[in-house]
Subunit: 351 residues, 2 copies
DNA sequence: TCTTTTCCGGAAGAGGTTTTCCTAATTTTC
DNA sequence: GAAAATTAGGAAAACCTCTTCCGGAAAAGA
């Protein structure tokens, strides 16, 4: 160090206006090429040189210039995430998973909210491509399949939650039917037989798939659904109204599988108001595992967690794979999980 | 057009491997500089040339290379958004506002979730700076002031929701006290006198500020708070418990200002269970205007909306200003709004 | 001491765009 | 029809980093 100080100060003074790697080079008394090698651990350098350069970089507070790097490497280590939902409740955990997966690759996300507007979406696709993103993840809000982002997109595209209608695309989605099956299996295993299903909008794939899963699982256990399937809306209020109607027509129901935690919360309050205790008289299971509702009040609600964060993580991983040339088309499903809480506890022993 | 076709095809053939602007230049039979001018509307060009170049760009599907552009201009038209919250309920609307503001400037957001971990936060700051972001927006989850992102950050930083402790920084926050005042004013104006306040954690600035606003507003109306301020947690369950305790000690309360919609929803159910009707016996107002809770069931809840989206928009605008050299340090507050719904409707006429 | 090998580090170019300067071509003016 | 004025478009540099190719110096071997 000391024997170099003359050279260092000399160069530094001579070239003190340089910025970026050149400033580091000047301070360390080496060429820019050497700095690059020292900082990236490439090339053949004396250890002392490497250390000297590192120290110089530290001193001038050097940070790599991403633009310059991308221009050379052709990669930006950046992905675009387009969500059709205004980053609603579903996009958020998915985003988190995406970030988890991409963070490992030192990648950053551009977040774009298309607000379900095709014009905005196309605009974002162009903007993202102009910024040379390495890939794009399209996050949906519903399970309903969606039209692909576009033809001839020169980077990999992964669809999360809402799959692409093109089977050649890569999509990562939740397993709605599996979730319903887990709920029903659990209810049956804990002794319930008169099971009803109150769920959301009939024109949502999520509701339809859950209902299918419900019917299939019931059939497998040799059970008949109580009063078919009650479609309504995704609101807490529908939980109240649905339960009221249900109990009026089938007062002997002993379990209700609800299409969402909001519906389940409404159902819980209404059951209490009608004098049924949970879980002794009626067991309750929701979907989403959304804590403001599952843990809002007693009893805490059992719920099917679609593992949205995992969906996001898988989508991120799929993208990394695709960037690595190992992309696999097709639809990948993520296993849901049943979170058991008080509302599906043991039934009152039949008298 | 026709008289140029020879030249065009000649150049195109000779240089068909070129990419980017060069490919367009070859196809249009002009130089790259001319293409740049034609596409950007700069320089002195014949209209026919401009059109020819545009057509060529269209034909080869040209998109500008963001990296190259940034390298020349020094601007990336990119901002980093660091949220301390896992993009929770508060960050989301703020983000939306940010995007609204920045979209006008054709800017894109890098979204980073620091998860309240200072190490992660510093990591993201470095990463963002390395990517040459034009600015950074730090989004908080609570109103509690936060330590600045760092010293010597070479780009403007705007703090949203959680202000910076350094008054020289630029922060955009909500007006908690103003929100409380609006709620109380409305209650008093509609004839309520025995008003209580049930709110969240005592060590959250949000709760403390709302409580202060509550006390001040009450004093201004010459009223005494019923039973002081009930601090608890931010949960629906606390709404139940708080109301139960409150009614036990002060059964003549005629309005409750709740620190959140979740608390208010719990309060609503408990009041109903105790035989008080809303709003005839007791009026109810929450904070957040979070529709799953305000519109969850009857009665729909009145609520103070802190206008988070506006906070985000203002933050974005402040950043654009700062980039324009017109940045203003200090704390900027955004006006809240009281959304009146059924729960604060007219009281039962006193017998 | 001279040759061969090994090791360090420098010079230069590429990547895509914008911009400045400058020349050539066209139009205007007398 | 020639000189002046204006306009159109080309050439090259700059932005910053990484990488390839090479030359020079030191070390090792003869």
């Amino acid at each position: 160090m000391t024997e170099n100080s003359f050279r260092e100060s000399g160069r530094a003074a001579r070239d003190s206006t340089a910025s970026g790697i050149a400033a580091v080079a000047a301070l360390a008394g080496v060429s820019t090429g050497t700095v690059s090698k020292a900082l990236n651990g490439t090339g053949q350098l004396r250890e002392s040189t490497r250390l000297r350069v590192r120290a110089a970089a530290e001193e001038v507070g050097w940070l790599p210039n991403g633009s310059a790097r991308s221009m050379r490497s052709g990669r930006t280590y950046t992905v675009g995430v387009i969500t059709t939902d205004s980053y609603g409740r579903f996009s958020i955990p998915i985003l988190r998973g995406v970030e988890d997966a991409l963070g490992l690759g030192e990648m950053l996300c551009f977040l774009c909210d298309s607000r379900d507007d095709p014009i905005r979406e196309q605009h974002y696709v162009r903007t993202l491509l102009a910024r040379q993103v390495d890939g794009i993840i399209a996050v949906g809000r519903k399970e309903d399949p969606r039209i692909p982002l576009g033809r001839d997109i020169p980077v990999p595209v992964i669809y999360a939650f809402a799959p692409s209608t093109d089977p050649e695309d890569c999509s990562v989605i939740g397993d709605e039917q599996g979730g319903a099956r887990r709920a029903i299996d659990h209810l049956v295993k804990t002794g319930r037989r008169r099971i009803a299903h109150i769920t959301g909008l009939e024109n949502h794939a999520s509701a339809v798939l859950r209902a299918e899963g419900f019917r299939t699982a019931m059939a497998e256990h040799g059970l008949e659904p109580v009063d078919g399937v009650w479609f309504g809306s995704w609101s807490e209020e529908w939980g109240h109204n649905g339960v009221r109607s249900l109990l009026a027509s089938s007062p002997d129901v002993d379990a209700i599988f609800c299409g969402s935690d909001q519906i389940a919360r409404g159902a819980a309050y209404e059951l209490a108001a009608l004098g049924r205790s949970i879980p002794e008289d009626v067991a309750l299971i929701g979907v989403d595992n959304w804590s403001p509702f599952t843990d809002g009040y007693r009893p805490h609600l059992s719920s099917v967690d679609l593992n949205l964060t995992t969906i996001g993580r898988r989508a991120g991983e799929a993208l990394l794979k695709a960037l690595d040339g190992r992309g696999e088309p097709g639809i990948q499903t993520v296993d849901p999980e049943l979170i058991v809480r008080e509302s599906s506890g043991p039934a009152r022993r039949r008298p």
